[in-house]
């Protein structure tokens, strides 16, 4: 794409204010809409965030938060599926039940989890599959998220495999159904149950009770949450209270109809010709986000500007984050942090330059992982009906004054 075209797209996207009045008619993927303001009302344990719904709560983190390796708990995004979330949980009474194809049905208390099991920690990114959905055009169904339906935290808890061992899996065990404590308004509405194949799960999958050194915030799934490093957040079940082991996949609504992409090489389709076969979104693709400067920020001529952001993938690991300040003509390597948080965490990057010319300029970031996979240009990302898995090269426009 020519720089000028690009500029136009970026500016149009940035100028789109209210959701529901998308002026971008062309069927081309563009930068997500990231100029939404945080609400003036805060939610429990949270600073004010971009607020799409209060029931169920849907809160997005502003992109300026994404300069640090860990996302603060009070700014961490929130996404629930069902409206009735328990508003009070007694940690001394809360238990998690494991039943189905097990040798012994068990109910394990929160206190037992914290004291009778090996305690483990993992730093991992959790990202909604629909993060950046507002990048797609025509507008796919679903909340029109900007770039902040994600975060990275240090999760502490116990291994899922240790918990399953306590119950003892039967030989024909194949599928695990995870259910949280939230409920729908009608009894007949299906629970938000996620099904995972046993063979997909390794020892990095944990049941966490702590997030960044604190109890899980209520809205992030207090008191227990399933942590599946490298995977999109749809299966990171919150307020996890029940695991059912079975030998058959149950074809549940939330598995069959939600969080799926076309099962073809590009994972793309068109609104006129939807691809009939679909697959679950599962593992995250490579992506980066510029946390500073903000889109449409003013920067002082000849001042030292340090671009900062985060990059991540499914755990293959980030090799480089390339930055371009000339509209994508030339790319330079940014400086990465030492990677001490491990391969499932954000890798922070920084890139310094001195603006030498007045006027508008673009800053772009492109992550490359250890397999050589890199972020595509936004316009090259094919559309899908759910608006899932956007991972375009991040582009912001600043003004040098």
């Amino acid at each position: 794409m020519e720089r000028r075209d690009f500029f136009k797209t970026a500016l149009t996207a940035a100028g789109t204010v209210a959701v529901g009045s998308n002026p971008l008619e062309a069927a081309q993927t563009h930068q997500p809409i990231d100029d939404r303001k945080v609400s003036d009302i805060n939610f429990p344990e949270k600073k004010p965030l971009i607020t799409y719904s209060d029931r169920p709560p849907l809160l997005e983190t502003p992109r300026s938060v994404f300069t640090s390796p860990l996302t603060p708990n009070d700014q961490f995004f929130v996404r629930w599926h069902l409206p009735d979330i328990p508003t009070l949980i007694d940690p001394n009474k809360f238990t998690i039940k494991i039943d189905g194809l097990v040798h012994k049905e068990v109910e394990i208390s929160l206190n037992e989890l914290k004291t009778k099991f090996e305690q483990v920690e993992v730093v991992a990114v959790v990202q909604c599959g629909g993060n950046s959905r507002s990048a797609f055009s025509p507008t796919p169904g679903g909340i029109q998220w900007g770039s902040g339906a994600m975060g990275c935290a240090k999760w502490k808890g116990v291994r899922l495999s240790d918990v399953l061992d306590r119950a003892g899996l039967k030989e024909n065990a194949e599928w695990l159904g995870f259910n949280g404590s939230e409920k729908a308004a009608y009894y007949e509405t299906p629970d938000f149950v996620r099904e995972l194949n046993l063979h997909e799960l390794d020892d990095h999958v944990i049941i966490a009770y702590e997030m960044n050194g604190e109890d899980l915030p209520y809205l992030n799934g207090y008191p227990l949450r399933l942590i599946i490093p490298g995977y999109y957040s749809d299966s990171w079940v919150k307020m996890l209270s029940h695991i059912t082991v079975s030998d058959k996949y149950k074809h549940l609504f939330f598995m069959e109809k939600a969080y799926r992409v076309p099962d073809n090489e590009t994972e793309g389709e068109t609104p006129e010709k939807l691809y009939s076969k679909t697959k679950p979104i599962t593992k995250m693709n490579v992506k980066s986000l510029i946390g500073f400067p903000d889109d449409r920020q003013k920067l002082y001529l000849k001042s030292q500007v340090v671009v900062r952001g985060v990059a991540w993938d499914s755990g293959v690991g980030i090799q480089n984050v390339l930055v371009s300040i000339d509209g994508g003509k030339t790319w330079e390597k940014s400086l990465l942090d030492n990677g001490e948080n491990g391969r499932y965490a954000y890798r922070t990057f920084r890139y310094s330059f001195k603006p030498k010319k007045l006027g508008k300029m673009t800053i772009m970031s492109k992550a490359v992982n250890n397999l050589g996979k890199e972020q595509p240009l936004d316009a090259d990302i094919p559309w899908n009906r759910g608006g899932y898995k956007y991972n375009g090269i991040d582009t912001i426009t600043v003004e040098i004054v």
Binding site: V19, N42, K114
Partner: protein, 102 residues
């Protein structure tokens, strides 16, 4: 690859919950548009979700809105009558539509 999960064999003291009382999730008055059929929207949709869910879907076709209402009935088991479903679809398309039938 370095060991990803660091192991801490601490007999940790159970942490106190940060929330000791019932949490209250605030009510957000989303700016929903008034118009013909709004009563049905209020009576049916609000049982399960806020108006934020509607206005933050983006502008959509009649087919989209009609299939969303059907999804609520078929998959989420919302007891919406056939008549209300039509009224709601018309309302949604009129106020949150993109002008396209399909």
């Amino acid at each position: 690859m370095k060991k990803i999960i660091s192991i801490a064999l601490i007999a940790s003291i159970p942490l106190m919950a940060q929330v000791k009382e019932k949490i209250e999730v605030p009510y957000i008055p989303f700016p929903i548009k008034m118009g013909k059929g709004f009563d049905s929207v209020q009576a049916n949709c609000l049982m399960c979700h806020s108006f934020g869910y509607i206005i933050n879907q983006g502008r959509q076709s009649r087919t989209f809105w009609s299939s969303k209402v059907k999804k609520m009935i078929v998959h989420f088991k919302a007891p919406i009558t056939e008549k209300d479903a039509k009224t709601i679809t018309n309302y949604l398309f009129e106020h949150y539509g993109n002008g396209k039938e399909k």
